[in-house]
Amino acid sequence: MEIKYTIEDSAVRVALIGELDTPATIEIQPEIDTLLSYASRPIYIDCSQLTYIASSGLRQMIAFYKKSASEGGKLVLQNVTPDVMEIFSVTNFDKVFCFE
């Protein structure tokens, strides 16, 4: 799992590459914590290379979503692959998140 991000004034752009399984979620916890502090800005997460997401990964997404909602920001998930989208839909989160 690899996480890349750029923090701009107008937006935070994140790219998730690989599989966001439970061990990966633990590994990238420091980066997540960093990004969460920018939750007031619009956060764009590019998921084009995200091949898998576990519930722990989803939980991180929800944390982003809740924080940005409470701070007036927004969270956009971009280019989600059908496989990963399936996991979103089975948990009903496809109705919660904003996809592009």
């Binding site: 898998y52 576990a54 519930s55 722990s56 399936e86 996991i87 948990t91 009903n92 989160f93």
Partner: protein, 575 residues
């Protein structure tokens, strides 16, 4: 004469043969009757020149003399009349003839006449004499007439186109013709019966053939896909249909199997067999324990069992995830059992004694338990194996045991085929007297098994395991990601919350049953039923139970049980 009524062809041959014979007889008889050529010869016994000559002249000239000769001549055949002189010249002939019966015997006339005269002098009673010429089928009858001092000769020809048949021979022929006709009539009526029988038989055979196919179709198909178990079974009925049975069916990670032998043979036994198979399947698919299955079937079979048909059966339920086998032996032969350790020998699986099924409805069935280790072998059979009859007697348990001992390391298929070959070889030259049934089960180490310890990093093994699983599993991409995700969540749950200490083993075993992928997870951690934790209310999401919700929603069915200190979670995905 003894007839064989066992075939139409026999009768056709019989009729053909008699027809030919009859035709021969007709040819033999009728020409003779039509062309009667019984010839009479009147010869003068005085063969010496002057007197005979004078007589010959008198025959030619004196019609009164000729008439007197004719009037005294016995004329038994009413045939032709002829007078020859001793030189063989015809001096009187009432009709034309040539090649007559007289020709061959001519040389003997003088001798016969002399013999008769000698007899007459010695014994003055009417004398006669018959000379047969068998090679030419002719006979010559001579009789001396003292008043005329002449000998009458009668010649007869028995040859086919010759002259008169002897009356007794003719009678014999008539009897033969009548007899043959009767035989033909019998044969024809038998042909009619046989043809009808044959039509009936053909219909019967066809019905039996269909019944046989139906019975075979009741058994599980051979290529049952089991990811963890190696199983093979054989059933060879002695007749078209039989009373032996085997069955196996997987239900939620448990293999239910049985081998049974219905008392009796043929159609009655096969009816009971089909009932037994259906009952077993229904009870097994309802997840009943072997003793419950046994008593369920027993109750059913005891109802109106006026024919006193009963079934000996071995019923087992093997949980694939850990090899634990619960079984109930209802009066059946003890199965062969090998624990999978190379040094140990093949023995018999001990079981509590139970009465056969269908015997007594009040019977309480008792079950036993054993754990099949890796490579362990279980071989169920019917007495068609142990009591197989060959030229050297009966095969027996010891021989069967010795054969399996040699084969034990092979696959289930190799063992079942090897044993069956040996049995059939033993039976060579002797008709198979009983149904032969075999069910071989081997607990093979399976690559479809995953072991992880309770460490989060171990969860990484899931992705690869799933890929491996999907190679043999016809799942679409969408289902694949859901299976992986659900399994991931279930194992994450185990790894994170089941244990307080590290280094514990969690086992995953997958199998394909009918149209389902079944994944069983077994851990020895704290009892935890994930099914009690998720909310069924639609649209509600409990963050804490997200993983558990995903387990539930990613699979078509999830079952949980706590057994002997283990959490056993069964995940079911429809294929």
């Amino acid at each position: 004469m003894k007839f064989k009524y066992d075939g139409l062809v026999h009768h056709l041959v019989i009729i053909l043969v008699f027809f030919v014979c009859m035709m021969g007889n007709f040819f033999l008889l009728f020409p003779i009757m039509d062309k009667e050529e019984a010839l009479r010869f009147v010869g003068d016994i005085d063969r010496y020149a002057s007197y005979f000559q004078a007589n010959s002249d008198r025959v030619r000239t004196d019609s009164v003399y000729l008439d007197s000769l004719l009037s005294v001549s016995p004329n038994p055949y009413g045939g032709r009349f002829m007078i020859m002189d001793s030189e063989g010249f015809i001096i009187y002939d009432d009709n034309d003839h040539s090649g007559s019966a007289f020709d061959i015997l001519y040389d003997d006339y003088g001798q016969i006449a002399t013999d008769l005269l000698t007899d007459e002098i010695a014994n003055p009673t009417p004398n006669s004499k018959t000379v047969y010429d068998y090679s030419a089928s002719r006979s010559l009858y001579a009789s001396y007439e003292p008043s005329l001092n002449i000998v009458f000769f009668y010649a007869a020809d028995y040859s086919l186109y010759g002259s008169r048949m002897m009356p007794t021979f003719r009678l014999l022929l008539i009897i033969m013709i009548l007899g043959g006709t009767v035989l033909i009539v019998i044969s024809l009526s038998n042909i009619k019966k046989l043809t009808r029988d044959k039509i009936y038989q053909t219909a019967n055979d066809k019905e039996l053939e269909t019944a046989s196919a139906i019975q075979r179709a009741m058994l599980p198909r051979e290529s049952r896909h089991l990811l963890q178990l190696d199983i093979d079974a054989k059933l060879l009925p002695a007749k078209k249909v039989g009373g032996d049975l085997y069955y196996y069916v997987l239900r939620e990670g448990v293999l239910y199997f049985c081998v049974g032998d219905v008392s009796g043979k043929g159609i009655p036994a096969s009816l009971c067999m089909s009932r037994m198979v259906s009952l077993f399947r229904v009870f097994a698919l309802n997840g009943l324990a072997p003793a419950r299955i046994a008593s369920g079937i027993n109750d059913e079979l005891c109802i109106n069992n006026d024919q006193y048909i009963f079934v000996t059966a071995f019923i087992g339920a093997l949980r694939i995830v850990d090899g634990s086998l619960v079984y109930c032996n209802a009066g059946h032969d003890a199965p062969l059992y090998w624990n999978g350790v190379e040094d140990s020998r093949v023995g018999y699986l001990k079981s509590s004694p139970n009465l056969p099924l269908g015997f007594d409805s009040s019977t309480k069935y008792v079950e036993d338990m054993v754990v099949l280790e890796k490579n362990a072998l279980l071989l169920l059979y019917t007495d068609g194996i142990t009591e197989a009859k060959g030229k050297e007697g009966m095969l027996g348990r010891d021989n069967m045991n010795a054969i399996v001992e040699k084969l034990k390391s092979g696959s289930a298929k190799q063992i079942s085929e090897g044993l069956l070959d040996e049995v059939l070889n033993f039976e060579k030259g002797v008709e198979q007297s009983d149904d032969i049934t075999l069910l071989v089960l081997k607990n093979i180490p399976s690559p479809k098994e995953l072991h992880i310890s309770n460490d989060v990093k171990e969860l990484r093994k899931i992705a690869k395991y799933c890929e491996f699983l999907f190679e043999e599993c016809p799942l679409d991409a969408k289902s694949r990601i859901l299976v992986r995700s659900g399994l991931d969540e279930a194992l994450t749950n185990c790894v994170r919350y089941a244990y307080d200490t590290p280094g514990n083993d969690i086992t995953v075993i997958a199998s394909i049953e009918e149209n389902n992928l079944i994944i069983v997870i077994k851990d020895s951690g704290k009892p935890f039923n994930p099914l009690e934790y998720f909310s069924d209310a639609p649209g509600t999401i409990k963050i804490g139970g997200l993983g558990i919700q995903m387990i539930r929603s990613n699979f078509d069915d999830v079952k949980y049980q706590w057994e002997d200190g283990y959490n056993i979670l069964t995940l079911i995905k429809n294929l």
